[in-house]
């Protein structure tokens, strides 16, 4: 916990905290003043404080690294089990069926909508991007599918089976969002 978000002591003794009977006002008050008192229906006082928590992780993609480096080169890479040949659109470096190692393969850059949705709300991190479309993409000759964003079309235009093409970010951020899909030419 850091000190700067704590209630500022008032000069001359007892801290004067804002009291509210509306729970919705608690968060707002905390952002401004760092502390607030919520008075419930029984008249009981409940002291709230703001309690920030920020972390920067050193996140290694480890064995999945080739997939994310591939995106930066405009390549979509899946994996194929060396013994049973099951082919994964979302890479798994060991096969979920036989446990054998799976090697890297290039996926086709064309696919089809397996399923989709339009998110009108989202987690805090993505609220500003709403509405956005999520799509599960199937590829010919590939056994599993891939989750991605679907751009350059409206909610009304999307349907299961719609042909898609992959697009890549010109400046990679080394995130799964470096690839997305758009309707294939003539699909809408």
């Amino acid at each position: 916990m850091t000190g700067e978000n704590m209630a500022k002591p008032q000069s001359g003794g007892k801290a004067k905290l804002r009291r509210t009977q509306k729970f919705t006002e608690v968060q707002e008050t905390l952002q401004k003043e760092g502390a607030a008192i919520f008075v419930d229906k029984q008249g009981t006082e409940n002291l709230y404080i703001d309690f920030p928590y920020h972390v920067n992780y050193l996140h290694s993609y480890a064995q999945d690294t080739p997939f994310f480096l591939g995106l930066a080169e405009g390549r979509l890479r899946g994996t194929r089990c060396e013994s049973c040949q099951y082919t994964y659109a979302t890479p798994r470096t060991y096969c979920q069926f036989c446990g054998g190692p799976a090697g890297w393969v290039d996926l086709p850059l064309k696919g089809k909508v397996h399923s989709w949705t339009t998110c009108h709300y989202g987690s805090e991190a993505f609220l500003k991007e709403t509405p956005y479309n999520l799509v599960l993409v199937e590829f010919e000759g590939v056994n599993s599918i891939l989750l991605s964003r679907l751009k350059a079309c409206t909610e009304e235009q999307i349907y299961v089976g719609m042909p898609l093409v992959a697009k890549f970010a010109s400046k990679p951020k080394y995130l799964i969002t470096d690839v997305w899909f758009e309707p294939a030419p003539g699909a809408i």
Binding site: G141, N143, L147, V160, I176
Partner: protein, 478 residues
């Protein structure tokens, strides 16, 4: 460019999958385990007056009222559940619960398994008693989700999806469930009811319209059941039209089809047979337990063969790729194991009610199918005919077969709320009261009491279906 296998080729991988044995557990050993009491706090948007420890104590103390001869020192140990360290912002919070309840120095462990945390906690306590390690075990769980704003809470929950491949795309569980139900509708409504509509977009839109109305029926059922449950967070006399027209969150799931964030706690006391007789004249036998799992990522789900229930045939599903993203293989596996353990052949005949994990109205319908209440693809018709509704309640619509197979008589997650670590235990508490025939006493009205309830199931579900528990409870008293 590496060569690709032929489209639709039956790779050896699929064959390996298809050969996956179904879970079998009829030979399970262990002692008989009984639930003697349960308690819970009201589920609410926030409980500013109680921290997680006090909520757990209130739930535990309420349970103890039903077993006055059970002293604190009869508790041999505990299993304590909460889902998210992010919501708690207190690591080892379970130790603080153990401490607050005055149960040191007895054995305890924290249980976490996503949305199924409560169901897993129940089964962990069952294991402690069945194995003979304990004669009396307390399972207690909580969640305090009001500690962050709703959309931040959604972000915490979405961290229970693969942070490399799923989360950065717009990590949002309602979005994931929307992806699953769109495919469910495509498989089971577009391809059947609207098979004759030529224009693909039009056929799919009509199929979703039809399914949305059925999902709204589920939401109405659960909200209206909860009108008679004083522990529920959002009881209301919801109209079908208002459910359908509520704000769209992720197409096709509107606001009223989705459960909420909650604060709450629930507690369950499990005992060996000897202890159960000592403490309780109306204990409930834990007749069967089951647990199933599936891939963390939706995109890794195989397209293989259905795990069949005893009352199903492979020929029922000739053209179905399973589980895909439309069905929950973990729920099917958990059901098969629990039914096998409890000796249940046909859940519709052998169970008088089910409390299942309806985080979404869509997943309630998908779960009917996983649990074998109807065949895969028949979930929508099951609702339209009225099977999962209660008899004698006003739903503002015609439900001809109400009472045939009651699901979520309590109101489920959609109306009771979903304080994750408590939810699966809440189901156990409600099921216990149903089987003790004490709903009238506990809820102040017997409108939700299933007449002559002798056996019920509880179902707890995590992630996008990455783990599911099913437990079967049975009345012992004549």
């Amino acid at each position: 460019m590496a060569q690709s296998p032929k489209a639709g080729a039956k790779t050896p991988g699929r064959d390996v999958f298809s050969g996956t044995p179904t879970p079998s557990s009829t030979k399970r050993g262990g002692r008989r385990v009984y639930m003697v009491a349960g308690g819970l706090t009201k589920f609410a948007k926030a409980h500013p007056e109680m921290d997680f420890r006090l909520m757990c104590k209130k739930a535990f103390d309420q349970a103890r009222l039903d077993v006055p001869n059970l002293r604190l020192d009869h508790i041999d140990g505990t299993r304590i559940s909460y889902f998210s360290d992010h919501f708690s912002r207190q690591l080892k919070a379970a130790s603080m619960v153990q401490d607050f309840l005055g149960l040191n120095p007895r054995g305890s462990v924290r249980i976490e398994w996503g949305g199924a945390t409560g169901g897993e906690c129940f089964q962990a306590a069952w294991e402690a008693v069945a194995s003979g390690r304990m004669d009396t075990c307390l399972a207690v769980g909580y969640e305090t989700m009001s500690r962050v704003q709703t959309w931040k809470g959604n972000e915490f929950i979405a961290l229970a999806s693969d942070v490399n491949y799923d989360f950065p795309l717009g990590g949002f569980y309602t979005g994931y469930y929307a992806l699953m139900v769109v495919r469910h509708v495509y498989e089971y409504v577009r391809k059947t009811k609207f098979a004759n509509v030529k224009d693909e977009r039009e056929a799919q839109k009509k199929a979703v319209e039809y399914a949305s109305r059925v999902m709204a029926m589920v939401s109405v059922k659960n909200h209206r059941n909860a009108l008679f449950n004083p522990y529920a967070q959002y009881p209301k006399k919801l109209e079908l039209k208002d459910a359908l027209e509520s704000e769209m969150v992720s197409y096709p799931l509107p606001r009223e089809d989705i459960c909420t964030m909650s604060d709450g706690a629930a507690a369950v006391i499990l005992c060996s047979e000897e202890r159960a007789k000592e403490f309780c004249d109306n204990p409930v036998l834990v007749k069967g337990v089951g647990c199933g799992t599936d891939t963390m990522r939706l995109s890794d789900r195989p397209f293989g063969k259905v795990l069949l229930m005893p009352h199903e045939k492979a020929s029922d599903y000739t053209h179905l790729d399973y589980p895909g993203v439309h069905s929950f293989r973990a729920g099917r596996a958990a059901s098969l194991e629990a039914y096998g353990h409890a000796g249940i052949e046909n859940p519709n005949k052998d169970l008088q009610f089910i409390e299942l994990h309806d985080a979404y109205a869509s997943s309630e319908i998908q779960t009917y199918e996983d649990m074998g209440l109807c065949r895969y693809g028949e979930g929508y018709g099951f609702v339209e005919r009225g099977d999962p509704f209660l008899k004698g309640l006003d739903y503002g619509m015609d439900v001809p077969r109400a009472g045939a197979s009651p699901v979520n008589p309590s109101g489920g997650l959609i109306a009771c709320g979903h304080p994750v670590g408590a939810t699966g235990l809440m189901q156990a508490v409600f099921a216990h009261w149903q089987l003790q025939h004490k709903i009238g006493e506990k809820f102040g009205s017997d409108r939700l009491q299933i007449p002559n309830a002798r056996r019920g199931a509880i179902h707890s579900h995590a992630g996008t279906g990455s783990s599911v528990t099913v437990s079967i409870l049975e009345r012992v008293k004549a």
